[in-house]
């Protein structure tokens, strides 16, 4: 545009070039992350794909690769995740509600707040040590599903609490005011409006948290999840195994076939993860839509 002097337009041209380069750079970085995931998935699937069949899903572990399956680990993981969800969601959301809606801005809530933030950064292995000492030993819950679930719940509670608090914070104050001004009590307001309105955000936190717990190995091994379990747990007090443990075990076997089984196990685990995320996202979108 002949609006400017020669020098100014050269300066402008330089700025435009920089902007273009930057945009391309960012896009390239993002796409390479996606590519990385693709590579990872590709690696896993070429290795494990040939083992992936119904036999694999429906069999217990075995010393013969062709007979080995992931049944007990898959069921154990589903049990574990369900229990974890059952424990951690109510407790986590309750804590978040207490901090956001009921507790004042006093010292105690500040302490809890800092404490929760700190717990989020405690390494998972430390939770394993804790779970072993508290649940397995002190409460004599033994190496059961419930011990594992409680330990895992402690591990992911901070994530749920923090995410839920953020979600609750985004609920417009106006909605609370509206409810109070209609003569609602605090709990009526919270239950009927705050909680539903923050549900999508809470779900996001829950997805993240459960995803994390589905892939954790170290604390489970610590508290004594089994490796070979040739039966399906029938209650929370039964011993169990979980997919990451099974995968870890297969991977460390000398035979190449077991390594491939491990890859197949990873595919199943990712599928479970994906299914769980999809369910959660579906629920989230549905509530979001219902509220629009």
């Amino acid at each position: 545009m002949p609006l400017t002097t020669e020098q100014e337009s050269r300066h402008l041209e330089k700025r435009h070039r920089k902007a273009r380069f930057f945009a391309i750079f960012c896009a390239a970085i993002t796409w390479s992350s996606v590519l990385l995931l693709a590579v990872l998935l590709y690696q896993v699937s070429i290795e494990g794909f040939r083992w992936l069949d119904w036999q694999f899903i429906s069999s217990f572990p075995s010393r013969f690769p062709e007979r080995a399956g992931i049944k007990s680990a898959l069921v154990g993981t589903i049990w574990l995740i369900s229990l974890v969800a059952l424990i951690s969601i109510p407790v986590g959301v309750s804590t978040a509600l207490y901090l956001e809606e009921f507790a004042g801005k006093g010292k105690i809530s500040k302490i809890i707040e800092v404490n929760v933030a700190n717990l989020a950064g405690v390494p998972s292995i430390v939770y394993g040590i804790l779970g072993l000492a508290i649940f397995v030993r002190f409460f004599a819950l033994e190496r059961s599903l419930i011990s594992g679930a409680l330990t895992m719940s402690l591990l992911i509670l901070p994530v749920i609490i923090i995410a839920s608090r953020e979600a609750i914070k985004t609920v417009p104050q106006g909605i609370r005011n509206a409810a109070y001004s209609l003569g609602a009590t605090k709990w009526q307001t919270t239950w009927a409006h705050v909680l539903p309105a923050s549900f999508p955000g809470i779900m996001t936190g829950v997805i993240l948290a459960l995803s994390r717990s589905i892939g954790e190995t170290a604390p489970l091994i610590m508290i004594g999840a089994m490796t070979f379990v040739a039966f399906l747990p029938e209650g929370p007090m039964d011993s169990f195994t979980a997919m990451p443990i099974q995968i870890y075990n297969w991977v460390s076997r000398p035979q190449e076939e077991f390594h491939e089984l491990a890859a197949a196990g990873i595919i199943v685990l990712l599928a479970v993860l994906l299914a769980m995320n999809a369910t959660a996202i579906f629920i989230r979108n549905r509530t979001e839509r219902r509220m629009k």
């Binding site: 801005k105 106006g174 005011n177 001004s181 509220m291």
Partner: protein
């Protein structure tokens, strides 16, 4: 300060109780150590619109919120003095704030419908408060009162968030009306709306005042002028003038009021 300079005290009391719904007597409101409202006294008349105007931060919203104890939710807020409503001090020990809010409704600055259906928005308040009549009728009646029925009757079960801003605000009014409150408090109910929606709401208020007592905070002086019967002008927490609206805008008694309404402030 006498409100009926020509009448005896006995007469005054009689007149008050007949015409006033809410009486503010020497109301002081504090936020922790800061005083936001200083020694304000006036009466809110039945079936009239009372407007509260004044510069930003003068304590309008604070005062309004004190009228149905919404200040309870503000950390550190403290109310002193008497606010007499149905023969009780609103801030008496015995008084149940939930009950107060049932009977003194409130509409807020930004339309804040619940993210639920139009129908549920209206029925929720009465239901949690033990209403057991026909909710269909209740919803219809409230929406009609709020002049919204015609526009939404075919989509009562759609989300309230699909309504336009002005419709949402009328829904919030309908929601408050469904509780059959004695007094309706409104804090700048039109400031988030476009002029056409604002005009609608103003017309609605004009219609509603035959059956409700309305207190409205507005920083739009023209609005106070257009719709209210009485106007309270506040400044820095003080009530400068409480008067018939026409007076405030043609011949205010106080110099500060005159300066404010003619824009000679700041």
């Amino acid at each position: 300060m006498s409100q009926f300079p020509d009448s005896t005290l006995a007469e005054q009391n009689l007149q008050m109780s007949k015409k006033s719904v809410l009486e503010l007597r020497n109301v002081n409101i504090f936020y922790s150590d800061n005083q936001a409202v200083n020694d304000v006294s006036f009466n809110i008349r039945r079936n009239k619109i009372t407007a509260i105007i004044g510069p930003s931060g003068c304590g309008k919203s604070t005062l309004l919120r004190s009228l149905n104890r919404m200040n309870d939710f503000v950390d550190g807020a403290r109310v002193e003095g008497e606010l007499i409503f149905s023969n009780e001090n609103l801030y008496g020990k015995e008084v149940d704030p939930v009950e107060v809010r049932r009977r003194i409704g409130m509409v807020f600055q930004k339309p804040n419908p619940f993210p639920k259906s139009i129908y549920n928005n209206i029925s929720w308040g009465p239901l949690i408060n033990g209403y057991n009549g026909s909710t269909d009728e209740l919803v219809e009646r409230s929406l009609k009162q709020a002049a919204l029925w015609e526009e939404v009757k075919d989509r009562l079960h759609e989300s309230a968030l699909n309504l336009s801003g002005g419709q949402q605000q009328r829904l919030c009014i309908a929601r408050a009306l469904a509780m059959e409150p004695e007094v309706l408090l409104m804090d700048e109910p039109c400031s988030a709306l476009d002029p056409i929606s604002t005009a609608r709401i103003e017309d609605l208020l004009f219609e509603l005042k035959s059956s409700y007592t309305i207190v409205i905070v507005t920083h739009n002086m023209q609005q106070a002028a257009r719709i209210s019967d009485y106007t309270a002008f506040m400044e820095m927490g003080d009530l400068i003038e409480f008067n018939v609206t026409k007076k405030i805008f043609t011949r205010p008694a106080m110099k500060r009021t005159e300066e404010y309404v003619t824009g000679r402030f700041g």
